[in-house]
Structure formats: C-alpha cells, structure tokens
C-alpha cells in the first residue's frame, strides 16, 4: 500500500502514553481469557473452529476494542464472555473467579438495542435492578439517576418505539450500567447508527467511561471507532479466529475528534488496514479488488470517460 505522506510507526509512543500504559499494566486484572477454543458443528457434520487459543488480559477500567475481518469470531468471543455461549475449552476469569452462564456482573449492549418494547424507558432500566432484588422504590430512584446520566430524563415514560436509534442505545447502556457490572460488553453497538449519531455516541461513551468505575470490552468493525475509543485493540484474524496482534493505541488520552487526523492515529489505522485487509489474501479464482468488467458504454456516449 502506498502512502502519500510519511507516517511514524504505530509502535512509537510518546512519554506520556508510554507512562500511561505502564500504569495500566500495574492495575489489577479485570478479565482474563485463557486458552479459549470454540468449535461449531455445521449441519453437514463438519467441524469449524471459530476461536483458537485466545489468550488476553483486560485491566481494570481499561477500554479494549476487538476488531477483525468478518468470520474472525469476534461476536462469538463476546457472547462467550457474556455467558450466552459456552466455550469448547478454556476459561474466562472475571475478578479472579471463573464465570459460568450469563449474569449481571457482565453487562451487555447489543447492536439491535434489545430494549423490552413493553416497558417504558424507566422500567427497562429498572429491570436488572429488580432482578437483583432491589425494592421497587430503590430501583426507580437508581434508574432515574442512570437515565439522567445518559441525558434522557425527559423520556423516562416513553416506550422504546418512540425513541430514535441513538436514544435507544443510550437506554440500553443505562440499563446495562444500572446493574453496576464489573465489565461492560458491547457487541457492535453503533453498527446500525448513522455517522453523526455514531460520533456523538462515541463521545458519550468516552465521557461515561472516564467518570465511572467500568471496564469496557467493545466489538466493532469500524477501524476509526476502534482507534478513537480504545486503550488497546485486540486484532483477530479469520478462519480460525486467532489473536493476530494486540495494539497499544499511541493516541494520547483523553481523546478528541481532532485527533482523527493526527500522525499517531493514521499510523495505527495504516497498521490495522494491513492486518485486516492483507494485500495477498485473495480467494482462489475470485479477484476481490476488481470486478470483471468490460466497457459497456457506447463510443457515441455523451460522456466519453468519467475521468
């Protein structure tokens, strides 16, 4: 890939960033993924390895993004972390204890919002609190705080269908956070949002993360989003899903939109591009870079060439 400007290496970190990563590594471990394997059986009986020997450690209050080409098993990984699927082998350790099955200690935000349509915004946020045995009064009080935190105080009595996509996702985040989970798992949460809303939501999430005690594990397929949000990026490769590289993002914290064009940002993006779209990896017989096109415009066409 040719670049028109010279970029530094994504591995170069300035002193502050280096220092910060050193401090992060000193923090206690929030989540540990140990020798994780996941195999599926296809209907024809063939075995497919979705995840192969994943080892990864997340420190407390760290923001980790997971990125990888389609079929790398990133969704499977987060579903295993949430307890919605069981690994074939390996272990997930949360705060020193192995996890089994889904539970409120791991909040999850899905791409499809998954708000309960029959409950108002407030009752949605109260759902988890009531499950963990809070009294209704207490749950309501707590829920109000979380709704205010995501800026939807005026909408607490609205039903989900009355909200926009971005608002729904904010409710989903409030609902997950209300349980005060150890870790917040987010599975491509902004995949269905338009670019402006997405940028705003990223901003909100950064603010939330900076101000409350939460570790975030965030799946995305958007390179910019991963770099903009993450302390570290776990890059997976496909077939089978394996750890490709773990990147410490050299962009200083706290982040702001201007950094999207900084040299560190672009250097990281270049590296991610190389990892996710390697130049030589083409399926046999299919040229994925170009379509097999011949000129289908008449010689007497008004526009002879688009160039």
């Amino acid at each position: 890939m040719e670049h028109l400007v010279d970029l530094p290496s994504y591995l170069d970190q300035d002193e502050d960033v280096k220092d910060r990563f050193a401090r992060i590594k000193q923090r206690p471990i929030a989540l540990e993924i140990k020798n994780l394997y996941k195999q599926f059986e296809t209907p024809t009986g063939a075995k497919v390895t979705a995840l192969k020997d994943i080892n990864f450690t997340v420190h407390k209050r760290e923001f980790v993004c997971v990125i990888g080409p389609s079929g790398c098993g990133k969704s499977t990984l987060i579903r295993i972390l949430a307890g919605l699927e069981t690994p074939t082998s390996g272990e997930i350790i949360l705060d020193g204890k192995p996890v089994q099955g889904p539970g409120p200690d791991r909040g999850m935000v899905f791409q499809g919002y998954t708000l309960f349509p029959w409950l108002t915004v407030k009752r949605n946020v109260m759902f988890g609190l009531e499950q963990s045995g809070h009294s209704k009064v207490l749950a309501e009080e707590d829920a109000r705080q979380w709704i205010d935190l995501v800026g939807l105080g005026k909408f607490e009595d609205s039903y989900p269908h009355e909200l926009s996509g971005g608002m729904k996702q904010r409710v989903a985040i409030a609902r997950a956070l209300a349980n005060q989970p150890r870790i917040l798992l987010m599975d491509e949460p902004y995949g269905a949002l338009d670019a402006q809303t997405r940028a705003k939501m990223q901003q909100y999430l950064m603010e939330i993360w900076q101000n409350i005690d939460i570790t975030i594990f965030f799946i995305t397929h958007d390179l910019d989003e991963a770099i903009y949000l993450a302390d570290r990026i776990l890059v997976l490769k496909a077939h089978p899903g394996e750890v490709n590289e773990i990147i410490e993002v050299p962009v200083p914290q706290p982040r702001s939109p201007e950094q999207l064009l900084s040299a560190e940002f672009l250097a990281t993006k270049k590296r991610l591009e190389e990892l996710i779209h390697p130049p030589s990896e083409e399926e046999e017989g299919v040229n994925s870079d170009h379509l097999n096109m011949v000129r289908m415009v008449g010689v007497d066409n008004e526009v002879e060439s688009v160039f």
């Binding site: 949430a82 307890g83 919605l84 099955g101 889904p102 539970g103 409120p104 791991r106 909040g107 999850m108 899905f110 499809g112 998954t114 309960f116 349509p117 029959w118 409950l119 759902f127 988890g128 499950q131 963990s132 039903y159 989900p160 269908h161 609902r175 997950a176 349980n179 798992l185």
Partner: protein, 321 residues
C-alpha cells in the same frame, strides 16, 4: 390515469378518502349484487309468481312455478283459447329480497315463538353466545398456558405437540355422539365440541407465536440477571402478549364456525335451532337475518377486541395514519 395507478400501487396505503370509499364498497358491492338479482326482473328470476291462475286448474294465486312450466301452460291455454294465467317473474323462495330480510331483522325479534316451550330469537342467541363463551374460555384456560410452555421449553414442546398435532386432524364434530353419551344432551356436549375444535389449534398456534419472540430479548434479560422463572413471566409472557391477543381474536372466529355443528348435537339449540326451525317453516328471510346476525356479532366482537387491544398494548408501533 395517474389516480388509477395510485389505487393499485403495491404495498402503498391509499389516500384517506379512497380508503373510506373502498371500505364502504366492500359491503356495498355484495349488497348491490343482491339488490340487482332481487329487483331487476330480467336478471335471473327463474320462477313465476302467479297473480291470476286463469284457466290452469292447479295454479293458485301466490304460487311459485318454474318459468318453463308457466310458459308451457300459457301456450296450452292459448291454443285452447282459454283465459291465460298471469304472473310476475320471481326468485326461488330461498332467496328473499333485501327489504324482506331487513324486515325480518325486526320481526324475528318481535315475533313470539310458535310454541310456549320454544325460545325467542334473543334467547336463542344468548344460548349460543354462552356456549361459545364457555367453550372458548375453557379452551383458553388450558390452551394458552400449554402453548406458552411448549413455545418456551423444548421439553413441553416434545411432550405435547406430537400428540396434539395428531389430535387436531380428528374432526371435532366426530366426537358429537361421544360427547352426548358422556355429558348429556344440554349445553355441556356443545361446549365440549367447541373446546375440541379450538383447543388443539390454539396450543399449536400459541406455541408458534411464542417461539417467534425475538431471542435477543431473552439474551438481554439473561445478561441483566433474569433466571428461568423471571425469563418466562417477565420476558416471554409480556413479549408475546400482543401477538397472543391477535391469535385469540382469530381463534375466536374459528370457535364460531364450530358453533353450528355443536348446536346440532343433542337437543338442537341456540341460533342453529332458530335457523333450522325457520327453514322448516320456509321463512327464509328469517334464516338470512339469523345468519347475518351471527356475522354482525362476530365482526362487532372483533372490532371491539381490536380497539381494546390498542389500549391494552400502547407500546405496539402505531400504524401510520
């Protein structure tokens, strides 16, 4: 031409005025067809109603005869230079004209029964409604919980559905004799037939509806700490409720279709008794009125239930105006 195109746009809503007009037409067109056949003498009218028997010995005033027979007898009378019979084109007795049926709507309720032991029309109707209600209520009382269980847990699905799948092919009326033998001749066997006709479909329809619940809602609830019982009562049940309600409206319609068969079992009763009785007296205007009353009750109930549904489930996406 463009307005014509608008009327037939694929999956596009019509403009409000066209919608109202076409909804009215949906009832007006069949009525118009009925009026045409009844009131335009040269449309159909295969019979002749005698107004003046003339020389034909067996013709009587008010008698309905086939038109061929009338023409034949007229020809004979003409050849013999006798008085010609007179008559008006008429439809068979089983097709009363709209105004006759409209009248019957009123008179059917005001005419006392022929015998003292027999029932007024409104009493017959009340009997029918009770039979429907109890049949449907008892079926739902067991069928809805079973359907939800079968749609939620594979265990119950395997346990119930294969047998129910088999049983639903057994025609409900076939159990008539059995039901009378066990339950006697009054309301009980009729309720049983409606129960059998509704219940098995109900379990299968509701288990299917339950299975259609978005599984990601269950996953979300699990990550929020909901366990087995909470998943069932706080996610599955409220989640399927609007669809379940819609299913029940459709199933109630099916229950009505079993009513006529059910009421013929044991001692004939209810609206069916009224219909068969009136048909025996050749009061076809009353028969038509009674059949239409069933239709009106059915449609009215459904409209009321639909309106109630809107109030019960305010979270359902509102239809665009």
């Amino acid at each position: 031409m463009s307005s014509f195109k608008q009327l037939f746009a694929v999956r596009k809503e019509l403009r409000p005025r066209s919608r109202v007009m076409i909804t009215v037409m949906s009832f007006a067109l069949p009525l118009l067809l009925w009026c045409l056949v009844s009131y335009v003498p040269w449309l159909w009218h295969p019979k002749v109603e005698i107004t003046e028997p003339g020389a034909v010995s067996y013709f009587k005033e008010g008698m309905l005869v086939d038109r061929e027979l009338f023409d034949e007898e007229s020809l004979k009378a003409k050849e013999a230079s006798k008085t010609l019979p007179q008559g008006d084109p008429a439809n068979p007795i089983y097709l009363p004209a709209p105004h006759e049926v409209a009248e019957a709507f009123y008179t059917a309720f005001t005419t006392p029964p022929k015998r003292r032991t027999e029932k007024w029309l409104h009493e017959s109707l009340w009997d029918s409604i009770q039979v429907i209600f109890w049949g449907f209520f008892l079926s739902s009382l067991i069928g809805v919980p079973l359907g939800i269980l079968a749609g939620t847990y594979d265990f119950f699905s395997r346990l119930f559905e294969p047998f129910i799948e088999f049983f639903r092919y057994l025609p409900a009326p076939a159990f008539g004799a059995l039901a009378v033998a066990i339950l006697g001749i009054h309301h009980a066997p009729k309720i049983a037939i409606i129960f059998i006709g509704t219940f098995f479909q109900q379990v299968l329809v509701i288990s299917n509806t339950t299975r259609k619940l978005d599984p990601s809602l269950l996953e979300a609830a699990q990550t929020l700490g909901a366990k087995n019982k909470a998943l069932l009562f706080r996610v599955v049940v409220p989640g399927v409720l609007p669809d379940l309600y819609r299913d029940m409206r459709i199933l109630l319609g099916w229950a009505w279709t079993y009513l006529i068969v059910a009421e013929l079992i044991g001692t004939s009763s209810g609206i069916t008794w009224f219909i068969t009785q009136q048909a025996r007296y050749k009061n076809f205007d009353n028969v038509f009125a009674a059949i239409m009353i069933i239709g009106i009750i059915g449609l009215a109930t459904d409209l009321i239930l639909a309106q109630m549904g809107k109030r019960l489930f305010p979270w359902q996406r509102k239809a665009k105006a």
